[in-house]
């Protein structure tokens, strides 16, 4: 990650290529959720990545992770685009399938099982997270569309993200446990021989 940022800071186009390979599908998923059309989404993706390239000096790792910074640029560009086209964000289905990338169906990222990740959220939390994060609605719009109080929107968003954090932490602990066991087995085996 740091290498990609450093390469882009040094105006090395390989950095942009690595950034694209690593993040473009995830960012495009967010963008298409907002603009609803794949062709417009791909244009917004290019605009977002060029903004990241041109404004890399504004990225401050003390304030946010690189993905968070990229995601903010992509969401804002997509929301602006959606408002330009339709004057407001609309709730509705996407033109592309929800999971258009085959690999996404098998794993979210870093081996995390997509179904398992989604199962930790209840229906209400998932609806709020999707509307705000993946479709670019404001909290107020979300409250009006779902016909729930604004405070409930905020608490569902917070609790949903907390559930995802907890699941990712337990996944990490499981992986470390497995790694430790493997090392112990190899160690005992080498001592035995």
């Amino acid at each position: 990650m740091t290498e990609i940022v450093e390469m882009i800071r040094q105006r090395n186009e390989k950095g942009l290529s690595l950034l694209y390979d690593r993040y473009a599908p995830t960012l495009l998923g967010i963008i298409v959720g907002v603009v609803k059309r794949r062709d417009i989404g791909e244009e917004v993706l290019q605009q977002s990545l060029l903004k990241a390239w041109n404004h890399i000096d504004k990225f401050n790792e003390e304030k946010a992770s690189f993905f968070t910074w990229l995601m903010t640029i992509a969401r804002r560009t997509a929301i602006d685009q959606a408002r330009l086209v339709g004057n407001r964000i609309v709730a509705g289905p996407m033109e592309v399938p929800e999971t258009a990338d085959d690999s996404a169906a098998k794993g979210a990222s870093d081996g995390m099982d997509a179904d398992r990740l989604l199962r930790v959220l209840d229906h209400d939390q998932r609806a709020v997270l999707d509307m705000i994060y993946l479709q670019g609605h404001t909290h107020r719009d979300t409250a009006e569309i779902l016909q729930i109080p604004l405070g409930t929107v905020k608490s569902r968003l917070r609790l949903g993200i907390a559930a995802l954090r907890k699941e990712l932490q337990s996944e990490k602990k499981l992986f470390l446990g497995f790694l430790m066991t493997l090392i112990m087995v190899l160690l005992i085996r080498s001592l035995w021989i």
Binding site: E13, L16, A24, P25, T26, L28, I30, V32, R38, E42, L45, Q46, L49, K51, W53, N54, H55, K63, A64, S65, F67, T68, M71, R76, D80, R83, L84, N87, V96, T99, A100, D101, S103, A104, A108, S109, M112, A114, L117, L118, L129, Y133, L134, T138, R140, A143, E144, Q147, P149, L150, G151, T152, K154, S155, L157, R158, I161, L164, R165, L168
Partner: protein
């Protein structure tokens, strides 16, 4: 707010999503200096959102990456072309004498250097201006839509009745039952600290108060706020930054009956 209150306020999630107000953003960045452990929280929230977004990832079609690099090359090529343009008048004097030619070469080199530097600066300024222009265009559209709502003849203008401790409160509610919109017109509002917010509540008979819009009071003369169907009275309180689930009654600054 202490560390626990910040974590429970929901502001960290808004910060990572880039959805919090400027005042909230400053508050979180100050809190990060005071409580370095918040950086881990923010990292984990970003990490969780990255994984969640990855579930819905969409693979870009083949030519997108090539188009991206074509646009990058095009921008670089344009900059190089501009930078290599010789200053006017230099070519005319090239053939006269060697010293003049050398002088011309030096002038060209200097011209290229300054022109290149200037082009880069101008390009960077142009991108900044384009970004600013896009945002202004969006803001204009939003302002226009707001103006249309404010001019709606169906609006009822109702004054909030200030409570005893907040006599200087002077707020109007522009209430429109048909379009289900509410605006608050701020004419006088109590001072609050940076760790506090104003919050609107919907009061219905026999029910707990329903938390609605949280605002800072400095957003402008007219603040769009939530419309809650069946509300009998709207109330405004001062709450910790980010709002509360239940109202702080001693901080009730005013109420207005709508039915």
């Amino acid at each position: 707010m202490d560390l626990n209150q910040i974590r429970k306020s929901g502001l960290l999630e808004l910060y990572v999503l880039g959805d919090c107000s400027l005042a909230e953003q400053v508050m979180i960045e100050e809190a990060m200096q005071k409580y370095p452990e918040l950086k881990k929280d923010l990292y984990e929230i970003g990490h969780a959102l990255e994984h969640y977004a990855a579930v819905r990832k969409v693979k870009p079609s083949g030519p997108v990456k090539d188009h991206l690099f074509d646009r990058l090359q095009e921008a670089g090529h344009r900059a190089a072309q501009d930078a290599h343009k010789p200053p006017e008048g230099v070519t005319r004097s090239m053939g006269w004498a060697l010293p003049l030619a050398l002088l011309g070469l030096v002038a060209l080199a200097l011209g290229w250097y300054f022109s290149h530097r200037n082009t880069q600066t101008l390009q960077s300024q142009l991108v900044d201006q384009q970004v600013a222009c896009d945002s202004l265009q969006q803001e204009n559209l939003r302002q226009y839509a707001t103006l249309e709502q404010l001019q709606d003849p169906g609006n009822r203008v109702l004054a909030f009745q200030p409570t005893g401790n907040f006599e200087n409160t002077d707020l109007l509610l522009l209430y429109n039952e048909a379009s289900r919109t509410n605006f608050i017109q701020v004419r006088g509002i109590p001072q609050i600290t940076p760790s506090q917010s104003f919050q609107l509540w919907s009061l219905k008979q026999g029910q707990d108060p329903i938390p609605l819009t949280v605002f800072q009071g400095d957003e402008g003369l007219f603040i769009p706020v939530s419309f809650e169907e069946g509300t009998q009275t709207y109330a405004i309180t001062i709450e910790p930054l980010g709002g509360s689930e239940t109202p702080t009654l001693q901080n009730l600054i005013g109420t207005v009956a709508v039915s």
